[in-house]
């Protein structure tokens, strides 16, 4: 698991639930290092152990945790530069949905080795999407729900999200998520000015 994702989990738990919960979860998971480095690669199993431990410490399901984390990644103010990177995927919420197939490639383009869940989007009617995700860890679907909910607010769209199914086959998690765009222009989108680089 890429350090960026491990660090996201750490950042989410520390800022949302406190350093104490994070330390406790690491202790329970039997992890010596209390801090992940974004530029390292960690064994998937280590990430899973910490994730399970955090869920246990908080008494929440992993799905709930991952959805919350997805939302945190997009809305946590210091992560504004990351939120901007999401917006490059499309000008509107619907355009973003269609580009979900590419999001893993896009991540790799920015940072080789950064493996996000793989998402495949299907749309049978306008504004209705089913996203199948595959990932080595649990929660690819809920994570997407959290990210999409927060991005919908960014784009000013009104959406309905639901994880339809989640199952582990041969060590890989397969989730199915339904996305319904109720109204694309529900409110004014937050501004997105291009070219903000140093």
């Amino acid at each position: 698991m890429h350090g960026m994702i491990c660090k996201a989990l750490e950042g989410y738990v520390r800022t949302t639930h406190g350093d104490g919960i994070w330390d406790q979860a690491c202790r329970d998971a039997g992890i010596k290092t209390r801090s992940f480095e974004t530029v390292h690669e960690y064994p998937d199993e280590k990430f899973d152990r910490v994730l399970m431990s955090v869920a246990g410490t908080l008494g929440r399901r992993i799905a709930v945790l991952m959805e919350d984390m997805g939302m945190w990644v997009v809305t946590h103010p210091p992560l504004a530069p990351v939120r901007r990177l999401f917006r490059f995927s499309g000008e509107t919420f619907s355009a973003f949905m269609v580009s979900l197939d590419e999001i893993n490639d896009r991540a790799q383009m920015a940072l080789p080795g950064l493996e996000l869940p793989i998402y495949r989007v299907r749309s049978d009617e306008p504004g209705a999407y089913v996203v199948r995700s595959t990932w080595v860890s649990e929660g690819g679907g809920p994570l997407l729900c959290g990210v999409l909910q927060a991005l919908a607010d960014e784009y000013g769209a009104l959406v309905l999200l639901e994880v339809l199914s989640s199952q582990r086959i041969d060590g890989i998690w397969h989730d199915e998520t339904q996305v319904q765009v109720v109204q694309e222009d529900f409110q004014a989108p937050s501004s997105f000015q291009l070219g903000q680089v140093t």
Partner: protein
């Protein structure tokens, strides 16, 4: 198919930064994005709106036609407001018949600044234009670079704190001052233990350094480290506490005669010539000795001070010798 006639809206969508000039250089039409970059362009002359930087030449129609299909570097000449002043563009031109020229512009390395300067959005680029991906990559690079800088900063901090916690002297591998202080404090805390302390200062070391250089000096210090380690038991301590100063601590030792014999052996070994790159380095050593059993309260500070005073006596009496600290007569041990 040699000719293709398409509506202006098609060209505007595909080449939003193009313009068409007539044979006199008057701008007849400008794409929507170019119009945003240089408002009021239509009707002006090409030469008043753009400057060709490379190849260096006036922006006349005949010059443009001489360089058809080649990449040119241009600058936007300021309109009245001065807003478009610094924008750099690249351009390529083609004759399109009837004496008209189509000049299409695109951004170069200046793209991020230009996009901010003119408030451009994804809509201002053709749907197939990879400029958006370029801007994405530039921002992603910033995010990742910032992350690397933070990691690098943390590593620096970790290194500094590791250095602070180091217990050995890098050159000789002996304990350093900090480690010695800690060990002496441990001994002081376990009051039942007796120990002997030897303070050694090299003689003539400065002249080795001055004559043969620091590399020779370092070689001598390494050799001294080896000699001292050979003269102690495994649970004794040897520390380098200054440039050419060493402290030896002998655990469970109350035998002043033994200490004197060891000191003599050390001095004899130090006086053996050390060769370095064809030169022969000669040093010796002055030593001060004291025993914890001499004092009612053998604090590390006291022990070090007494050994130091004895060392000073050795130096004063001609160097290359060992002196035992005077046993205090009045102290009730």
């Amino acid at each position: 198919m040699n000719e293709l006639s398409v509506g202006t809206h098609v060209i505007d969508a595909g080449l939003p930064m193009h313009m068409v000039c007539d044979a006199a250089g008057t701008v007849l039409h400008a794409g929507p994005t170019l119009e945003r970059i240089r408002p009021g362009l239509v009707g002006q002359n090409m030469e008043t709106a753009f400057r060709i930087v490379l190849p260096c030449m006036p922006a006349t129609m005949s010059n443009l036609l001489d360089h058809q299909g080649e990449r040119m570097f241009l600058e936007v000449v300021a309109d009245q407001d001065g807003a478009a002043e610094q924008t750099k563009l690249r351009g390529v031109c083609f004759a399109i018949g009837g004496g008209m020229v189509l000049l299409n512009f695109f951004f170069g390395t200046d793209v991020a600044r230009a996009v901010i300067r003119h408030g451009l959005t994804a809509r201002h680029f053709a749907p197939f234009d990879p400029t958006m991906e370029l801007l994405f990559l530039m921002e992603a690079r910033d995010v990742i670079l910032k992350e690397f800088k933070q990691v690098s900063g943390r590593l620096d901090e970790a290194r500094k704190s590791a250095e602070k916690q180091a217990v050995t002297d890098a050159l000789t591998g002996l304990l350093n001052r900090r480690a010695l202080d800690e060990q002496l404090q441990n001994l002081a805390d376990r009051r039942s233990k007796t120990y002997a302390l030897m303070h050694l200062d090299l003689d003539f070391f400065k002249s080795v350094n001055d004559t043969y250089g620091h590399a020779a000096g370092d070689c001598v210090l390494e050799k001294v480290g080896i000699i001292l380690r050979e003269q102690v038991r495994s649970d004794d301590l040897v520390a380098r506490v200054g440039g050419d100063e060493f402290v030896l601590v002998f655990n469970n030792c109350d035998d002043v005669g033994l200490m004197q014999r060891i000191a003599q052996r050390i001095i004899a070994r130090l006086e053996e010539p050390i060769s370095f790159e064809g030169n022969t380095c000669r040093i010796s050593g002055s030593i001060g000795i004291t025993l914890s059993s001499y004092y009612a309260d053998p604090s590390p500070t006291r022990m070090m001070a007494e050994a130091d005073a004895a060392l000073y006596a050795s130096k004063k009496n001609g160097r290359s010798r060992a002196t035992v600290a005077a046993r205090p007569a009045s102290e009730d041990v």
